[in-house]
């Protein structure tokens, strides 16, 4: 996939952005977790720290990796911008310089008792604007019969309440 868009990169770089990673196994198991450590790496991959080795989120992400499937990342900014990235887990590591970098970051932010189970590296496969207006435009075009007829785009002013 080509490099992530400027919009996605900007959201990832913004500390005010909420970053949520969702892993689901397709059999009813799913976990959404806030991942404030999620970042775009120089090589274009994404990486985040998983705090807890034995968490359900970690198991589900591993299951996705083993199955060759993808997770979902949602980025949400206070100004309403939102972006979705479909990303496949490509590597889990708990040693080495990348792990150390996240570990030290956690120490700096969360204090000497902080914990990092491991680091997941993901490859972005697909991205899209998840903002409400962008989604509405797409959905209205693709599925016009779901638009309420009292919407201002559908009816002139006078006919509405």
């Amino acid at each position: 996939m080509p490099p992530l868009s400027n919009q996605a990169s900007a959201l990832l770089a913004d500390p005010a952005t909420l970053k949520v990673v969702v892993a689901a196994d397709g059999a009813g198991g799913a976990r959404a977790e806030l991942r404030p450590s999620l970042r775009l790496q120089e090589d274009g991959t994404l990486a985040y720290a998983e705090p807890f080795e034995a968490s359900e989120a970690n198991s589900l992400m591993l299951a996705l990796h083993w199955a060759g499937k993808a997770a979902e990342i949602l980025l949400s900014a206070p100004d309403g911008r939102a972006w979705r990235i479909t990303a496949a887990p490509r590597r889990y590591l708990y040693t080495g310089p990348l792990f150390q970098s996240f570990y030290r970051e956690a120490r700096a932010e969360q204090g000497p008792n902080s914990q990092v189970g491991g680091v997941w590296v993901l490859e972005a496969l697909k991205e899209e604007d998840a903002g409400y207006e962008a989604r509405k435009r797409l959905e209205d075009e693709a599925r016009p019969f779901y638009r309420y007829l009292d919407r201002s785009d559908v009816t002139p002013k006078g006919a509405r309440a």
Binding site: R143, F145, Y146, Y148, L149, D150, V154, A159, A161
Partner: protein, 420 residues
């Protein structure tokens, strides 16, 4: 265990895990009927629920007009159940709905031995009880399902005049006799202006409607056939269109017009989809069950016109429906369910290849129809049918948005698409 009872539902659930329980219940309720117990009837009299008995396709006398009547039933997952009550058909052992603790509760039968689930009913639209400027009750102009407003533009089917009506049909009867109600009691024409005003009224209720649906009895007057009807629809659709900017989400269920007639409709109105129902695919059975359609259009031309309509309205914007189960009607129908299914799947495959969305409904032997004494096939037949249709449509990239659970609620095969 009997057809469509709770034990049967549980058995079907185990056998077809890809068919949700609510869809099975929807089919079962259609199959076995529903009776409202007195507390439920009382609760329905509440203004929020009471649609009244007035229905745009049926005549009701003074006594009937006093009765409360609910809108479409809703299951907890949003599935609509267009259940038949006992005034329409004869049911031996219907499910019952009671009202307890402020909730509508569905039970397996009159003994209330087993609670099935909590249900609800579609709230009555806010325009009900209002009148047009010509004094017509708006609910006599249009009714509403969850997200669809249904308008009847002409309350007489001229196929009945010569006994050539579709044999399962009970439109515009009083449900007692196999004939159309007289003009005096049930005026045929519906004024375009009344329709315009009723549509304008429903738009005042935020979020109530996302599709305008229209149909009528067949009127084959004009040259070519049905030209008068086409002009009537254009007139009405243009009136409705004054409420909107440009094209609006809509469906016209009408005969299979010629391509030129479809072009006229498309170019002069805001109509978005059409639905010329084939009703039954098999050539021999089509002629027997729908003699009027056969005489005034003919099966081959019906099919061709439907396919041609895709060029005008676009892939996925032309629908056609089959009355599932009617193809097994005696004495001339298929002898086995497998044969009947094969015929329907052949039809679905054909239409899907040509960009037409093929859906099914469950045959109900209405009391005032020719087929009033026919039996339905097994409930499992309908389960197999809806699964097959959904798979075929999915293969061809087609979805029944216009006729889905929110807009129509009468096609269980479309309900299955909700997870696609």
């Amino acid at each position: 265990m009997s057809e469509g009872d709770l034990d049967h539902i549980e058995q079907l659930e185990a056998k077809y895990p890809d068919v949700p329980r609510f869809v099975l219940l929807k089919l079962a309720l259609r199959y076995r009927g529903v009776r409202l117990l007195a507390p439920a009837t009382l609760a329905i009299s509440d203004a929020d629920y009471n649609y009244g008995p007035v229905q745009v396709f049926r005549y009701h006398d003074e006594e009937a007009l006093k009765k409360a009547h609910p809108g479409p039933l809703l299951f907890r997952d949003g599935t609509t159940g267009l259940v038949a009550f006992e005034d329409r058909e004869v049911f031996e052992d219907p499910y019952v709905i009671d009202h307890e603790g402020g909730k509508f509760l569905l039970y397996s039968d009159a003994s209330k031995a087993r609670l099935v689930d909590e249900v609800d009913f579609t709230p009555r639209p806010a325009y009900y009880g209002k009148r047009t400027s010509s004094g017509k009750p708006m609910e006599s102009i249009a009714t509403a399902r969850a997200q669809r407003m249904i308008i009847c533009a002409y309350r007489h089917c001229h196929f009945w005049d010569t006994g050539e009506q579709c044999k399962y049909c009970a439109f515009f009867t009083d449900l007692n006799e196999t004939r159309q109600v007289s003009e005096k009691k049930f005026p045929k024409d519906v004024e375009a202006e009344d329709i315009y005003e009723t549509v304008r009224e429903i738009l005042k209720e935020p979020g109530r409607v996302s599709e305008i649906y229209m149909t009528a009895g067949a009127d084959y007057e004009g040259e070519p056939a049905f030209e008068a009807e086409v002009d009537r629809y254009i007139n009405i659709l243009q009136a409705i269109g004054r409420n909107f900017k440009g094209r609006f989400s809509s469906q016209l269920m009408a005969p299979a017009y010629s391509k030129a007639q479809y072009k006229k409709l498309y170019e002069r109105t805001g109509l978005t989809t059409v639905c010329p129902n084939i009703e039954v695919w098999d050539e021999r059975l089509f002629k027997w069950i729908c003699p009027g359609k056969e005489r005034f259009v003919g099966r081959a031309k019906w099919i061709q016109n439907t396919v041609d309509a895709v060029e005008v309205f676009g892939k996925g914007n032309v629908y056609t429906q089959v009355i599932g189960g009617v193809e097994l009607a005696k004495p001339h129908g298929f002898k086995t369910e497998d044969e009947a299914l094969a015929s329907n799947f052949e039809a679905c495959e054909f239409y899907s290849k040509h960009g037409v969305v093929f859906v099914s409904v469950v045959f109900g032997p209405a009391r005032s129809s020719v087929f009033h004494d026919q039996k339905r096939p097994s409930l499992e037949y309908f389960v197999r049918l809806i699964r097959g249709l959904r798979q075929i449509r999915e293969k061809h990239g087609l979805k029944a948005d216009n006729d889905d659970y929110k807009h129509c609620g009468n096609h269980a095969d479309a309900d299955l698409e909700r997870v696609d």
